[in-house]
Symmetry: C2
Subunit: 348 residues, 2 copies
């Protein structure tokens, strides 16, 4: 029985799929723990990391996949193509891998404008090229009008992990500093506002970005990264809760240390969202030994994607199930839990 | 300019996606040549093979992806889960690779029965296990009711190619024998009959199968395979036409040598289909030196998936664009061409 099963002992509550099964919260965790993990269960899948890591003839490779169903397809700061490339590059980078090659599989709805498709694949290529990776193989399927939603994209990626680098939840330990490269909530809020046609005085742009260059700089600087995780579906909260459970450690975060853009903060207050649960596409946390905190922050702040980097908390030590507490500005701590419903559907 | 562009000089005829853009015929080729290839173009993608092949630290790896949108999800002889695993295993095998690891990314429509999802993932695991490969990482997305169609599955796969093995279109040359492991058209017809609710006296089962074991036996027997291709969308005709164009060779096929099950033949006659254009999911062709024909046929016929193996034609020599002629039972030859419309949508 995995750590996450201990945290989510409930059986599946539904006999049909609901939107929240894809939302990064408790229902999605239940679906994975009750259905997907038992079916496919194997030591590599059970790593519960952004990529599977294995050796082939002595080379350590990372292998990952994600499908993208974001709605709308174009949003401030990005589009589904940029997202599909960045998301998979980031999953590889979080395993400490240098991304090498990507695939691109398209499921296109009949009637979709070819000009939009062209814009999307060019955005993919532009993003891949900037990251120095090649899109080497792909697939194109078409489904009947009304059986898809414009275009869905799957990207898979493989990367190479250099000797001595090991970023995975099992290495998180008491005393680790937890660093965050940027601010929280921009991607989820930008997509949601665009979808709902809500206009705020200041446009909020998605933080969608390729983190592999920044991670490469951290590794090149000799930072001993114990674990990294990008803060996608379920946001910072889901990432911390899953990592704490897998590592069986207690994590403490200070709310005052979490950077949130003032426009994002306003939008969250008006709409009733909590930025720690909102998805990001260019934000990640890293766990480093306490003594490397300053050096790591200095590398982060020297990169355009890490200017706002901060230390947001620490790992205090072993805990039988793994927990995360958030200390608010008043000094009051609460235990963070996965949300059970659907907060923002289809943001990636 | 690639060979295929020479064969398909027409610009895109539509400004919106039509079903035939995913059908494996001329319109799909135009979409790939006019939009996808120019955007992503690189030497690996331009291999125009079932997998991309590259070296990582001296190991030759094959990397492939496919999305599956078959309708219905369950059909005689298989289901979308079995198809999604076999299809990707076969793409790896066609490059001469031994499959190692697969991914599984699900796009599920809100309201989809969880019992059906369970049946599908168990079918995937069963198929992967039988092939000796692990499903090591995955992704689950949910889309709103009416924005998907039950479930779409993407699988990506990586495999390892042993030294000395090179199966790709560039190796096809005059004098090669062309062998086929089985009969034609069962998958496409089985799926179509099930979807349309047409009942024939004898049920036709899809040939959906993992070919990697059979390919492994051919390679282990020392057969010098110049190229392999599985006969999916567009059937035997599309595979031959694309390979002839890429290799710039002339290919001759004898219709009388093509095995077609009598029930499939009846269904094709009644419905107006030509079995050479119908998709298969367990049929492949291989190009071998003339002198290895008998040895290869003997290995093929010793395997359950190759009992009906036959020599269906040969490569006669260079041709400026590459062509395929089919000699019918009367001894009359015609040039095979890609079909331009949509023959059977959503069969994989």
């Amino acid at each position: 029985m995995s750590d996450l099963e201990l945290n989510c002992p409930l059986p599946l509550q539904y006999d049909r799929i609901v939107m929240a099964h894809g939302g990064g919260g408790r229902l999605m965790q239940q679906l994975l723990d009750n259905l997907i993990q038992p079916a496919f269960g194997n030591p590599l899948l059970n790593q519960k990391h952004d990529s599977a890591v294995f050796e082939v003839n002595g080379s350590r490779l990372a292998f990952t996949t994600d499908s993208y169903v974001v709605k709308p397809l174009f949003f401030p700061g990005g589009d589904i193509g940029k997202l599909a490339v960045c998301g998979t590059l980031n999953d590889l980078a979080m395993s400490g891998a240098k991304p090498l090659y990507l695939t691109c599989a398209l499921i296109i709805e009949e009637g979709f404008p070819i000009a939009d498709l062209e814009r999307i694949v060019q955005s993919m290529q532009h993003t891949a090229e900037a990251a120095g990776v090649l899109i080497v193989t792909g697939d194109t399927k078409v489904v009947d009008k009304g059986k898809g939603d414009g275009v869905f994209i799957n990207t898979a990626g493989i990367g190479l992990i250099d000797a001595g680098i090991e970023s995975n939840p099992g290495r998180i330990k008491g005393g680790d500093s937890i660093l965050l490269n940027g601010d929280l909530g921009r991607h989820g809020i930008a997509v949601m506002l665009e979808r709902e046609g809500l206009n705020f005085a200041h446009e909020i742009e998605s933080d969608c970005a390729d983190l592999s260059g920044l991670v490469g700089e951290l590794l090149a600087a000799g930072i001993e990264i114990h674990c990294m995780r990008d803060l996608t579906r379920g946001g910072l909260a889901a990432a911390l809760i899953e990592l704490a459970a897998t590592a069986r450690q207690h994590i403490e975060i200070r709310e005052a240390s979490l950077p949130v853009d003032s426009n994002v903060k306003s939008a969250c207050e008006i709409l009733g969202f909590d930025p720690v649960y909102i998805a990001n596409e260019g934000a990640f946390i890293l766990f480093v030994p306490e003594e490397q905190t300053e050096q790591a922050l200095s590398v982060l702040r020297g990169h355009p994607l890490g200017r706002q980097a901060s230390r947001i908390g620490q790992v205090t030590g072993p805990h039988p199930r793994g927990t995360v507490t958030l200390e608010n500005v008043m000094g009051v701590s609460r235990v963070l839990d996965l949300f059970s419903g659907e907060q923002l559907p289809r943001i990636c």
